[in-house]
């Protein structure tokens, strides 16, 4: 008998490749569609988990772009509190595909967010990135000025990046009721106040996600025809759901939908790759080894395991940031030195996590 499975490689079989393997020692989990090297200009964005990717790539000597770099010699905790050094610009966490697409469009003058400046404690906040100015700003004008400057940085990222790594986090979103502007977090979490006449909840369907993702990817290629994209799905469960369902059920929906559209995008576009950080951490096969006891946070070892797989697959494991002769980052896009911090377990800056405060 002739079987189509006869020619399948070892990794196609659960018994050979998964049974008995652990996240630390599983082989051949990821074969990059395209390789990064130390000269590749990499941009990062996404949900809280994505912070680990950018930070660890940078520490490993990868040329991670940063067009809003931090002041040299500044305390790392202070920088993180103001959104520096987490991603390629100070956009804060980008949880949703539509949020990402809207940011790209806005940076290129093709979208205008509405109701995007919120107030709290007499100060003003950029509702699309409320975590980057924890003390708020003195006026709405200041919010606008800094946002314009920020959007310039986003534009430069899109123009300059060779590879954009985007980590998708959530399907549940809060939006402006009139304009469908997507916010990273519900009003009343960091700033602003919830008014059901002005804001609405929306749980993106897989169809919508797929459409938004296709649109975002197409848009990126339109702006930068050579750009490639690596998609990942955050393995971090929802802190809270507004869907009316149990949070476990809601989480499963979110992650399933995001994982599905990531796979579909990879199949559709040859410039898109998918890195299985989600599978390494969250699949039943990994037995929650990489989660904290609350089964929500990812342990430092977990982050290290994920990054090890990524770097090994790209031939970058062991590359020392100080031993990179010839690396030429884009001008102004890569500071000479980042503040040194602990190698494991930096705390994420995470609005989603703040929702836990509402648990009673």
């Amino acid at each position: 008998m002739n079987s189509p499975y006869t020619a399948q490689p070892r990794r196609a079989f659960w018994k050979l490749a998964a049974e008995g393997a652990t996240p630390a020692d599983v082989e051949d989990l990821y074969t990059p569609r395209f390789l990064l090297d130390r000269t590749t200009k990499v941009a990062t964005a996404g949900s809280c988990f994505a912070q680990h990717i950018g930070i660890n790539l940078r520490r490993s000597g990868v040329n991670v772009l940063d067009f809003e770099p931090p002041p040299q010699g500044t305390n790392e905790a202070l920088l993180k509190a103001y959104g520096f050094g987490l991603y390629s610009a100070r956009y804060g966490n980008i949880y949703h595909v539509r949020q990402f697409f809207q940011l790209l469009q806005e940076a290129h003058g093709e979208f205008e967010p509405r109701n995007a400046i919120w107030e709290a404690r007499g100060r003003w906040f950029d509702a699309l990135r409320p975590s980057v100015e924890p003390d708020g700003l003195a006026s709405q004008d200041e919010v606008r000025i800094l946002r314009r400057s920020h959007l310039n940085a986003v534009r430069r990222i899109v123009e300059s990046a060779d590879v954009f790594i985007f980590t998708m986090g959530l399907t549940e979103a809060w939006m402006d009721a009139d304009s469908d502007t997507v916010y990273p977090t519900a009003p009343g979490t960091v700033c602003g106040s919830y008014d059901p006449t002005r804001f609405r909840f929306h749980n993106f369907s897989s169809t919508e996600l797929a459409q938004d993702l296709r649109a975002a990817l197409t848009f990126l290629r339109r702006m930068n025809p050579a750009i490639r994209v690596i998609l990942t799905v955050s393995p971090v469960p929802l802190t809270a759901t507004a869907s009316g369902r149990h949070v476990v059920v809601a989480t499963t929906y979110s992650k399933s939908a995001l994982r599905a559209v990531a796979g579909e995008a990879m199949d559709r576009f040859d410039f898109v790759d998918y890195f299985p950080s989600f599978e390494l951490v969250a699949s039943h096969w990994s037995k929650a080894r990489l989660y904290e006891p609350n089964l929500r946070g990812v342990t430092p070892d977990g982050v290290a395991t994920v990054m090890r797989h990524f770097l090994t697959a790209n031939g970058l494991l062991g590359v020392d940031a100080q031993a990179l002769p010839g690396a030429t980052p884009a001008k102004g896009a890569h500071p000479k030195k980042y503040p040194k911090g602990k190698r494991s377990g930096p705390r994420d800056v995470c609005e989603d996590q703040l929702l836990e405060a509402f648990a009673k």
Partner: protein, 269 residues
């Protein structure tokens, strides 16, 4: 009996040590001992009981030479402490403007690489000052000895920097010469000084008459000498950052007046 003061500083201490000789006898109201080492090597000082020591032999040698016989600082032997520069200085704070400009200066410094909020800028310069060797050492000295500490930040560079277009930071310092930026810088300086000062740690202002606008008058920079050797090696001609004996004397005179008019008693350690 004159109070005994330990002066602890980096290369900028040379101005104070040479300035002592220029001080009027009426202003010599204290007995100084100078403990100096160049660059940021004094960050290696650690307390061994109440004695400040360095594990770095070069630092110990420098302390021995500058003090005239002591390779460590016995804090119990002094009534006050004066720290000189050691990473604290308005110039250092303002250098942040080369890369990050707060919104309140947005129109005064066009072409800024990156705009940031005023709050962030203030927090950065205050945090940087707080983590400077000067302030960390000041807090440690006061904690161990209970004695007051005066801190002289690094002076502003001299106006000579504006005359040398080849100076790497020429255009930057030109911008700082504007009255608007000058006023803002003064505000920041006062705010940072207030933030890191306590009742027993006093950040001193640069003597007003040494300033010309925002920068130090050029005459206070001429013929400045290095801390190394016998204080007889001049700095390079284009060094606009190290000041001379006249500058040091001006600071010491201010200190002397301060000790008389607004003395701070030692607190129990």
């Amino acid at each position: 009996m004159s109070p005994k003061i330990a002066f602890i500083g980096n290369s900028h201490l040379a101005a104070f040590k040479t300035g002592w000789k220029q001080l009027l006898s009426s202003e010599r109201t204290f007995e100084p001992t100078f403990f100096g080492a160049v660059k940021n090597t004094l960050k290696t000082l650690r307390f061994d009981d109440d004695i400040l020591r360095s594990s770095d032999p070069e630092v110990r040698a420098s302390l021995l030479r500058t003090s005239g016989g002591l390779d460590a600082i016995p804090t119990a032997d002094f009534d006050f402490f004066v720290l000189v520069a050691l990473g604290l200085g308005p110039g250092r704070q303002l250098r942040l403007l080369e890369t990050h400009v707060p919104l309140s200066l947005d129109d005064a410094m066009p072409g800024a690489p990156q705009r940031v909020s005023d709050t962030f800028f203030a927090r950065v310069i205050t945090d940087n000052a707080s983590r400077s060797t000067a302030i960390r050492l000041a807090r440690g000295i006061h904690r161990v000895s209970g004695k007051p500490v005066y801190v002289f930040p690094q002076p502003m560079p001299s106006t000579a920097i504006l005359g040398d277009r080849l100076q790497r930071q020429w255009s930057f310092w030109q911008q700082l010469a504007s009255p608007r930026v000058r006023a803002w810088a003064r505000e920041q300086q006062l705010a940072v000084g207030a933030a890191v000062s306590t009742k027993a740690i006093i950040v001193m202002d640069q003597p007003a008459h040494t300033l010309e606008g925002q920068l130090t008058a050029a005459r206070f920079c001429e013929s400045s000498v290095r801390l190394t050797g016998d204080l007889d090696r001049p700095h390079a001609e284009d060094d606009s950052f190290h000041m001379n004996a006249a500058f040091g004397a001006a600071c010491l005179a201010d200190l002397s007046r301060r000790l008389v008019t607004n003395p701070i008693s030692a607190a129990p350690a």
